[in-house]
């Protein structure tokens, strides 16, 4: 009886896994078909494998440029977030006074603000900064990075703060007595100890920033600056009827994510788990 139920569980789980994989199967098989073949049977294997639609989609959606933009924006944003939010969280956690508490509480409280509440006034403010201070916030990847850093700061400071609170302060005090500056203490002693939570902060932010559509859609109008979600959106606007081409385009957008997942799988699952229970 027990063996049977275990066997049933195995089968159940296997079927569930297959079910979660099935959309990928559908995208792959249809990305190789011509339109007639696709409409005949969307589930069948393609008659021949040619990468014709991939090259076509790659060109039409400006895939390589979008990939470059997405990589540049995501990597730079995440690096800046890690550096600035770990430093800020450490200072706030180790300087126990009213000001630190107010700043920390502000970070926490703003986690509740939905992006839609901020988007219009943010665009107005960015317009003012661009016009009055002559710092181009629109149609520059750096302007978008600036905004990504701002939106990610709450959750990142929160995660770092919680982790730092659990590290005993004695090590820092010893280093200070030995004559290390705050800068030295932080970067040589504390930051290496933050590695587990840094991984979590990086992963959460990579996922959010890589997949973000709305913010880039409001700040980037230049075709050459489009990120992957953005170019996917415009690609679909133009080629909706050509589903075979669309499937090749979607497959292209999934490939970088799958590579990232395969390379960092262990860290991703662990990082998400640790971020959640903190």
């Amino acid at each position: 009886m027990k063996i049977l139920s275990k066997y049933a569980k195995e089968v159940l789980l296997f079927l569930a896994a297959l079910f979660f994989l099935s959309p990928i199967y559908i995208i792959i098989v249809n990305s190789f078909k011509n339109r007639q073949e696709l409409y005949d049977n969307a589930l069948a294997l393609p008659e021949k494998f040619s990468f014709q639609y991939y090259t076509e989609a790659m060109e039409k959606m400006g895939f390589l440029s979008a990939l470059g933009n997405s990589l540049y924006i995501t990597i730079l944003s995440v690096l800046i977030i890690v550096v600035l939010s770990s430093m800020t969280a450490w200072m706030l956690a180790r300087t126990d006074n009213k000001l630190s508490n107010i700043i920390f509480m502000t970070f926490i409280a703003t986690m509740l603000i939905p992006f839609q509440t901020l988007m219009m006034p943010l665009m107005q403010l960015m317009g003012t900064i661009t016009n009055e201070l002559h710092i181009p916030m629109f149609n520059t990847r750096e302007g978008l990075i600036f905004m990504h850093v701002g939106f990610s700061s709450s959750i990142s400071v929160f995660l770092y703060h919680g982790f730092i609170k659990s590290i005993p302060i004695t090590l820092e005090e010893a280093a200070t007595i030995d004559g290390a500056t705050k800068f030295g203490v932080f970067w040589r002693i504390i930051f290496p100890m933050l590695k587990p939570i840094t991984v979590t902060v990086m992963i959460l932010n990579v996922i959010n920033i890589w997949n973000d559509y709305l913010l880039p859609s409001l700040t980037l109008t230049d075709k050459g600056l489009r990120t992957i979600p953005l170019s996917t959106f415009y690609f679909f606007g133009e080629f909706t009827i050509k589903w075979n081409l669309a499937m090749a385009g979607l497959m292209l957008t999934i490939i970088p994510v799958v590579i990232f997942y395969v390379l960092a799988q262990k860290h991703i699952i662990k990082g998400i788990g640790e971020g959640a229970v903190k």
């Binding site: 275990k6 569980k9 159940l12 789980l13 569930a16 896994a17 994989l21 959309p23 559908i26 995208i27 049977n41 969307a42 589930l43 600035l84 939010s85 800020t88 200072m91 300087t95 700043i103 970070f107 703003t110 509740l112 603000i113 939905p114 839609q116 509440t117 901020l118 988007m119 219009m120 006034p121 943010l122 107005q124 403010l125 600036f146 850093v149 701002g150 939106f151 700061s153 709450s154 500056t181 705050k182 800068f183 996922i207 997949n211 559509y213 709305l214 979600p229 959106f233 679909f236 589903w243 669309a246 499937m247 957008t253 999934i254 799958v258 997942y261 799988q265 788990g273 959640a276 229970v277």
Partner: protein, 290 residues
């Protein structure tokens, strides 16, 4: 604070605080200010102060009220469905099964792919694969293009959202389950507790912190959903799936009602905050300490 320390304090915190204030705090305050004005977003045109009129007008906006209602229904269905699928998956993959690791990897993957792209993938599946399966099996009462049906389009949204989020909450539940001490389970086994009893009396109460966080995440992301909404249904058919977030976007950038749209956005903030804080308060109270 000593003088030298104050310098370090500023050096460490100022860069992030400047960015954070510019991107979050100031826009939030400007947003509240704008919500009292009637304005079309064109700088040269006058902003007319209308006091609370924008907020009063919300209750006459049938489309907004409808989107609020749809968002509520969607959120309730989505939260239930995501958490049932996520918890079941977590319980299955933590039991010693051979396919557990593969399953864990696959169930989590949609979360990484991202809402916009998932929406497009499923648009095709509902459009083409569902009708095909309906034709082959004759079950065209279940397998048809859900996105064209006023009621089913909403279920399609729930379905795709569950697809996206289930793996994420699964990871959270796994972390919770692994935190349940083994000796307690063993002791209960020796005392003769059945599997179901062990789950209900031990695992479930100790999972409360995982529930708090999973419910918070699913509740707030379901309520704020935009990407999947945009790419899967675009709000259609006939606005039947236009959620809160999309309604606000359309009001501001689609119809150019900046002041009125911003008033909606402020209300949106209060609703999200009230719902999530209530939920966290309620579930936190039920957490037990080991």
């Amino acid at each position: 604070m000593k003088k030298g320390n104050r310098g370090w304090y500023i050096l460490f915190t100022a860069p992030l605080l400047v960015i954070f204030t510019t991107v979050v705090i100031i826009p939030f305050l400007i947003g509240i200010y704008y919500s009292f004005f009637e304005w079309d977003g064109i700088a040269a045109n006058p902003k007319v102060f209308v006091g609370l009129d924008n907020f009063i007008r919300l209750f006459d906006d049938a489309r907004f009220l409808k989107s609020a209602w749809i968002t509520t229904v969607f959120t309730i269905l989505a939260v239930i469905s995501v958490n049932i699928v996520g918890l079941t998956a977590a319980l299955l993959v933590t039991s010693k099964l051979r396919v557990a690791n593969v399953a864990r990897t696959l169930v989590f993957m949609p979360y990484l792919i991202g809402g916009l792209i998932l929406g497009y993938i499923w648009q095709f599946i509902f459009l083409d694969v569902f009708t095909l399966i309906g034709d082959i099996t004759g079950l065209d009462g279940i397998f048809f293009n859900w996105l064209m049906d006023m009621d089913y389009a909403l279920y399609a949204m729930v379905f795709v959202f569950t697809w996206q989020m289930a793996g994420y909450v699964m990871i959270i539940y796994i972390a919770g389950i692994q935190g349940v001490p083994n000796d307690v389970i063993e002791a209960a086994k020796i005392d003769g507790a059945t599997g179901w009893q062990r789950f209900r009396k031990i695992t479930f109460p100790l999972l409360m912190p995982a529930f708090t966080i999973s419910l918070f995440l699913t509740l707030s992301s379901a309520f704020k959903i935009y990407d999947v909404n945009l790419s899967l249904t675009g709000g259609g058919p006939a606005n039947a799936t236009e959620m809160f977030a999309m309604n606000i976007y359309n009001e501001i950038f689609g119809y150019g009602n900046y002041g009125f749209g911003q008033a909606k956005a402020i209300i949106f903030f209060f609703v999200v905050a009230a719902i999530t804080l209530t939920q966290v308060y309620v579930t936190k109270k039920r957490e037990v300490e080991m």
